[in-house]
């Protein structure tokens, strides 16, 4: 088989694309430069009341940027659609990848069409579709989520199978037995870079949001009473939070995420403490809401305690380790020790920041009149905290949640980069960057591909947070 080029039979379009891209770059630079000298008003109204676009060089550069951007977008779409329609490999590497990603494209399209259709009924999520930045962010994030969901059908090769002839081969090299191509090349052990990148997304997409949710549970459960009651509780908890925050993150990882520490069972003890918080949070949430309906409350509390307790025990414990509570047969979740330690340390590093944010918000909100009204009505402290204060703090918390998932992704990458925690074989992006960077002078793609993947996901999360912030401020 022939090695694939980047664009295959669509190469005829390349000169056009290049020209459009070059003009677009020139127009953007011109626009930024001209913005310094541009007059203030952006729209002028004519004598007949019609609005006219801005004239002059700046107006021209503005229009040029817009149209060239649209043209560029259309060309990229042609490459992607062409690749998905033409037979596999005919439209080069981009086309082949686009064809593999067809389930992702369909899911994205369905999601966007449905969200657009019902955006007025979807609250803050629907408002997101009014902001371009937010939509771009959401699209990037959901792209990676869908890639993670469909990763088994997208990946073309096994993540661990090595073909020695494919070591450090360039993108588009065919596999010697003729069964296909290594679309994004082979790494230093002859594994498929593309498939590893796709499978690696699954690790990030699963761990990062979960760890962030746990960190939020811990931060909220401790931050609410600290801000609401103040006093010694606040002083003590704030001191602890500052203690953890003053710890350089990398040093912490190096101390905690080592095989010796796993032997002592420390991560599991930490997990025992940290994973208790979601259950406490849920119990308090339900108890404060349904306190006046004892029958319903008792049933809900028992349900949460049983289900949550079982999940907790099977999450934390593992037969044959320091914390072995459930017998092997009853253990539902088998978390490898090194995965657990990564999870725990990421939660541990994130929760003090969440605690500080929640505490600050509570300090601000508890001076409001509706809180005083609730207190006068005789509402209990926890009801006020969870059902009066927390919903009113949701805006900043949702924004921070998005940003924090991005930060967690970066932390996971850092752990992988230093070879801590996850096994070196693991396809997660941090570990692959670490493996690829050692041979940068020989082959660049094994490091570049996961690096770009990680960057785009974090960028998407940041843009999403920006869009959410903008829209929630409009309320």
């Amino acid at each position: 088989m022939e090695p694939l080029t980047w664009t295959g039979s669509l190469s005829v379009l390349n000169p056009v694309t290049l020209a459009v891209a070059a003009f677009f770059a020139v127009a953007v630079v011109a626009q930024i430069a001209l913005a310094f000298f541009a007059p203030d008003p952006s729209v002028q109204s004519g004598p007949d009341g019609r609005l006219a676009a801005r004239g002059g060089a700046f107006g021209a550069s503005e229009r040029a940027t817009r149209w060239l951007f649209l043209a560029l977008l259309a060309l990229v779409l042609v490459y992607l659609v062409g690749g998905a329609v033409l037979p596999f490999g005919a439209a080069g590497i981009t086309g082949a990848i686009s064809k593999l990603l067809v389930p992702v494209w369909i899911s994205l399209a369905v999601m966007f069409v449905l969200s657009f259709r019902f955006k007025r009924r979807l609250g803050l999520y629907g408002k997101l579709f009014d902001s371009t930045i937010g939509m771009i962010g959401l699209a990037i994030v959901m792209f990676w989520v869908f890639v993670a969901v469909f990763s088994d059908t997208i990946a073309t090769a096994d993540v661990l199978s090595q073909i020695s002839q494919m070591k450090n081969k360039l993108p588009g090299t065919p596999v010697p037995d003729g069964s296909g191509w290594y679309l994004l090349g082979g790494d230093h052990l002859g594994r498929d870079v593309f498939s590893r990148m796709v499978e690696g997304s699954r690790i990030v997409i699963v761990i990062a949001p979960f760890a962030t949710v746990f960190a939020f549970m811990v931060g909220i459960t401790l931050g609410l009473p600290a801000g609401y009651y103040g006093g010694m509780l606040d002083t003590g908890l704030s001191f602890l939070a500052n203690l953890i925050l003053a710890f350089p993150v990398i040093l912490f990882f190096y101390l905690l995420v080592t095989p010796e520490i796993v032997q002592t069972g420390m991560p599991q003890y930490l997990a025992v403490v940290l994973f208790l918080f979601p259950i406490i949070f849920l119990l308090v949430l339900v108890n404060s809401r349904f306190y006046v309906m004892p029958g319903l409350r008792n049933r809900l509390v028992i349900a949460i305690a049983v289900v949550g307790g079982y999940l907790y025990l099977s999450f934390v414990g593992e037969a044959g380790t320091r914390v072995a509570i459930l017998p092997e047969a009853l253990d539902l979740i088998h978390m490898p020790a090194n995965m657990l330690i990564v999870f725990v340390s990421v939660v541990f590093v994130n929760s003090p920041t969440v605690f500080r944010i929640v505490r600050g918000l509570v300090l601000d909100i508890k001076t409001r009149d509706y809180v005083a009204a609730g207190q006068t009505r005789g509402e209990r402290p926890w009801y006020i905290m969870i059902w009066e204060i927390l919903p009113n703090a949701r805006g900043p918390l949702i924004v921070d949640f998005c940003l924090r998932i991005g930060y967690t992704t970066i932390l996971l990458g850092t752990l992988g980069f230093f070879g801590l925690g996850l096994s070196p074989e693991s396809p997660d992006w941090g570990s692959t960057i670490n493996a690829g960077r050692r041979l940068m002078t020989v082959a660049q793609h094994p490091a570049i591909v996961p690096a770009l993947a990680l960057m785009s996901l974090v960028l998407g999360l940041n843009l999403l947070a920006d869009g959410l912030r903008e829209e929630s401020l409009k309320d």
């Binding site: 953007v28 626009q31 930024i32 913005a35 310094f36 503005e62 001191f239 500052n242 203690l243 003053a246 710890f247 350089p248 993150v249 990398i250 040093l251 190096y254 101390l255 905690l256 080592t258 010796e260 520490i261 032997q263 002592t264 991005g406 970066i410 990458g413 850092t414 980069f417 230093f418 941090g430 960057i433 670490n434 690829g436 960077r437 940068m440 002078t441 660049q444 490091a447 570049i448 690096a451 770009l452 990680l454 960057m455 974090v458 960028l459 999360l461 940041n462 843009l463 920006d466």
Partner: protein, 346 residues
């Protein structure tokens, strides 16, 4: 002001003690000590021999006592065996009678690195010097660029310039050092892109040139730039909506003068604290970049010490890291109060 300072200092000392105790505990866990014994006394020794080695070298005692010795508030251990007195503070072959009673961090005895075979204090001093150089150039690049970007973006909120500069800052904050470093190397230093930079950062330890130092500096600076720029932008937009700016505009002061003479000073208070608080974060960046570019500074030493179970050196590095973080927090607090006359301390 004095009370505030004293209280801050007391909290800082307490935090430092707690943190060093935690680090001491984590580095002196039984498995670590066992590994140390095996690397010092031979890898094939039995468990009983490990225990006796630990006993002989003063590791088999309560944690708090060992921590006190290391800190220098508890007299160092001594041990008599067959007429020869050994001890924590007694150098090999020295006279036991003349040895000092206390030898810990407070006395300036940082211990001996088991991997680099040198005094921890001298290793850390040289490495910190190298990292200081790196940090200096990072600051030289990062601070002006981020302030200019932030001010330009914030002076006309919502303009095209603001949009493009804000996108730039978001993009840099979304790119951790290990990603931007890899991309910069691929684009500027390998056959895949343009081979502009040919030096290695390892050679920069002796002789710094633009060729061998620009990429590491840029990599660290990029990540921080976006964050500081966004903070500057936020503070600048806030100032630009203030009453006195409107008054100045109505008075007929030109836009340029409003920005430079009226807005800039007030807008730069907030970024100051942010820049100071960046130091701990830069510490992360330094560790990553020094590992990536193989520049043997403080971060590289920390990684090497942690990877080789070099307990004394790791403890020393941790002390320095914790100290840097706490001192910058203190400076940023004091600086904020000092710069902002509206803040009155109760």
């Amino acid at each position: 002001m004095l009370m505030f300072l004293l209280r801050r200092l007391a909290t800082m000392v307490l935090t430092a003690l707690c943190l060093t105790l935690i680090v001491f505990y984590l580095t002196n866990l039984p498995p670590n000590l066992e590994k140390l014994a095996k690397s010092e006394a031979g890898s094939r020794i039995t468990d009983a021999e490990v225990a006796s080695w630990l006993e002989k070298n003063g590791h088999a005692r309560p944690l708090l006592v060992r921590y006190g010795e290391w800190l220098g508030v508890v007299p160092g251990w001594t041990r008599e065996e067959g007429g020869v007195t050994t001890g924590r503070c007694i150098a090999r072959g020295a006279d036991p009678a003349a040895a000092p009673g206390y030898c810990g961090v407070l006395q300036g005895e940082w211990g001996f690195s088991s991997v680099f075979k040198d005094d921890v204090s001298s290793i850390i001093a040289t490495r910190l010097g190298l990292t200081g150089l790196l940090m200096f150039w990072v600051m030289v690049v990062m601070v002006p660029v981020s302030l200019i970007v932030g001010v330009l973006a914030g002076m006309r909120e919502g303009s095209k310039l603001d949009r493009s500069l804000s996108t730039f800052s978001i993009a840099t904050t979304a790119t951790p050092e290990y990603v931007s470093g890899v991309i910069l190397i691929a684009v500027f230093a390998t056959s895949m892109g343009w081979k502009v930079f040919k030096g290695t950062a390892t050679s920069a330890m002796d002789d710094i040139t633009f060729d061998n130092f620009f990429l590491p500096v840029l990599t660290i600076a990029l990540y921080g730039t976006g964050y500081i720029a966004r903070m500057t932008r936020a503070s600048m937009t806030e100032v630009m909506t203030a009453q006195y700016i409107r008054t100045a505009r109505l008075k007929g002061v030109s836009f340029r003068n409003v920005v430079i003479k009226h807005a800039l000073r007030n807008a730069l208070i907030a970024p100051f604290t942010v820049i100071m608080l960046q130091f701990p974060w830069l510490l992360n960046g330094v560790v990553i970049v020094e590992t990536l570019f193989n520049y043997k500074g403080f971060g590289w030493t920390l990684v090497a010490a942690a990877g080789n179970n070099d307990i004394q050196l790791l403890l020393g590095c941790s002390v320095v890291a914790v100290f840097v973080v706490l001192v910058t927090q203190l400076i940023s607090d004091i600086g904020y109060v000092f710069l902002n006359p509206r803040i009155r301390i109760s």
